[in-house]
């Protein structure tokens, strides 16, 4: 089997509804169509990435919970998806409990990192969707990742909370993962016609400069519909604007990583 120089990318923002899951699922899907193995890890107890890819969990299926809490062998937790080169480690609601269960443990921020270490070389990219919080689960995500993509939704107070996230990233760099860096800032739910969208883009660009992706993710209903059909956008409606945008994003990211 071919071994890859894997890269793990977290999608993080403690705000909910900014497009983390949509980005994780669709970025992973588009990266996988170049026929390189990609793994998506769902680290959100809400398990939206899991259901968004049409993965059904019963009480026998092993999830990321089993891997980080019960030390289950990682191979048993990997599920196939409708895309040949995309695998997923799904999440489940019990992951909520993980935050508490992990507290008394040693090295509790390294649980996910240890899981991912078992995979070395099997996947080219590992994309992690994270929960809308800065708790222990997200610390595990940031500690296990090489870099982080921060989706920023075009809305009022878009930048609020961003400094808290950046602070957390800095703390993680200092104590848990010194090589962690910001892969990019992704503007989501952008609307050409709204001044607000332009203002958010401008402000974010002023602060983050060329860390902001050229690709803007426009607001697009098809992106909102796809998860309820259990499909990434490229299978649900490849001709939609949302599909275009995520395709562009994936190729922009690949280009930067070449």
């Amino acid at each position: 089997m071919k071994l890859f120089n894997s890269k793990t990318i977290a999608i993080a923002n403690q705000k909910g509804g900014v497009g983390k899951t949509t980005t994780a699922v669709n970025l992973a899907a588009y990266l996988s169509i170049t026929e390189t193995p990609i793994l998506l890890i769902d680290m959100d107890p809400q398990a939206n990435a899991t259901s968004g890819l049409g993965i059904e969990i019963d009480n026998k299926s092993k999830t990321i919970y089993d891997a980080i809490i019960d030390n289950a062998s990682v191979d048993k937790c990997i599920h196939k998806t409708n895309l040949k080169y995309l695998d997923i480690i799904p999440s489940t609601y019990s992951l909520v409990g993980a935050e508490i269960e992990l507290v008394p443990q040693m090295k509790r921020e390294d649980r996910l990192k240890n899981v991912i270490n078992q995979l070395q070389g099997k996947y080219k990219y590992i994309i992690i969707d994270s929960a809308p919080s800065l708790g222990l689960l997200t610390l595990n995500v940031l500690s296990a990742s090489n870099s982080v993509i921060i989706p920023v939704q075009c809305e009022y107070y878009a930048l609020e909370g961003l400094s808290q996230l950046l602070n957390t990233i800095r703390l993680v760099q200092k104590h848990l993962n010194k090589d962690l860096f910001i892969e990019g800032i992704l503007i989501t739910m952008y609307d050409n016609r709204l001044n607000l969208s332009k203002q958010v883009l401008q402000e974010v660009s002023e602060y983050f400069d060329d860390k902001v992706y050229k690709t803007l993710i426009k607001r697009n209903v098809r992106l909102g519909e796809a998860p309820s059909h259990g499909m990434p956008i490229l299978l649900y409606d490849a001709s939609s604007v949302g599909a275009q945008n995520y395709m562009e994003l994936a190729s922009e990211i690949l280009e930067k990583n070449e």
Binding site: I33, E35, L201, L216
Partner: protein, 286 residues
């Protein structure tokens, strides 16, 4: 080398470079023939092989295969791999053969290639791979290849482009080379290669197959995707916001500027407000 090769294998055979050894009435023992390791990758279509077997059963091998002598005991196959296979299936002991004197590897490869191309045995990808071999292994230019196989240079260049396709797409082209309903053609291949970006190529390929897009439609999509590459927005947005801000400061109202749609939109809250704004604009004229 002269351009007799451009005319194909018959031209060469007419030159009667026949080996004196082992050439018995034109029939050679099948066990003495080894296949050419440089033979361009070939996928035998089972159906057409079955057909050939049938025809040979009926009429025998009409066109002799081409071989060359490699040592005292063995010959190497130059052209006619399908016929040889069919003969093996039919458990024939001997096959009619031309024994050809081939000087170099290039010549051997060319012969195999010419033969296959002329028989239309190679699909587009196999053809491209064969040219690529000629190009890389023997440093032939497109023009040289063209001359030798008797095709135009542009045809060679176009076929060679297919080498750049991702492997899964190449495989699909090969697998479906006999299926005229398969929506992805050489024309599509050439068009999506304009994209030069693996994700976009794959994404568009999937759409072509799934939505049965025409080459024309594919061309349009490629254009659209390429246009997206340089979003006009980013650069101008900063300027537009500056313009909007300065105008709305002067006019004390909401102003929208669109460079792409070429308008400046000035909002007002009431009739009175409208008059106020018009006054400002009118008075600034002097």
């Amino acid at each position: 080398m002269n351009n007799r090769l451009g005319k194909g294998i018959e031209a060469l055979i007419n030159s009667k470079n026949l080996d004196d050894r082992g050439y018995i009435d034109g029939f050679v023992n099948i066990n003495k023939i080894k296949t050419n390791p440089n033979q361009p990758r070939k996928y035998f279509n089972q159906k057409s092989l079955d057909k050939l077997v049938e025809s040979i059963k009926e009429k025998g091998i009409l066109q002799p295969i081409a071989i060359k002598s490699i040592d005292d005991d063995y010959f190497e196959l130059i052209a006619g791999e399908r016929r040889l296979r069919a003969a093996k299936i039919l458990k024939l002991e001997t096959v009619p053969a031309y024994i050809i004197k081939v000087d170099s590897e290039v010549e051997k490869l060319e012969l195999a290639l010419i033969e296959n191309i002329q028989r239309n045995d190679l699909n587009a990808i196999e053809e491209a791979e064969a040219y690529n071999l000629l190009k890389n292994k023997y440093n032939l230019t497109h023009k040289e290849i063209a001359k030798r196989v008797g095709k135009s240079r542009t045809e060679i260049t176009r076929t060679l482009e297919l080498i750049k396709l991702p492997n899964n797409i190449k495989d699909a082209l090969i697998e479906n080379s006999n299926d005229s309903t398969f929506p992805f053609t050489r024309g599509h291949a050439r068009t999506i290669l304009i994209l030069k970006d693996s994700i976009k190529i794959q994404a568009l390929y999937q759409r072509i197959v799934k939505e049965k897009l025409s080459v024309r439609k594919t061309e349009q999509l490629v254009k659209k995707v390429n246009k997206n590459l340089t979003p006009p927005e980013r650069k101008t947005i900063k300027n537009i916001l500056k313009e909007e801000n300065s105008l709305s400061r002067v006019l004390a109202t909401k102003v929208e500027v669109s460079s792409s749609r070429k308008y400046i939109k000035i909002h007002f809250k009431s009739e009175k407000d409208k008059v106020r704004i018009i006054d400002i604009i009118a008075s600034s004229k002097k």
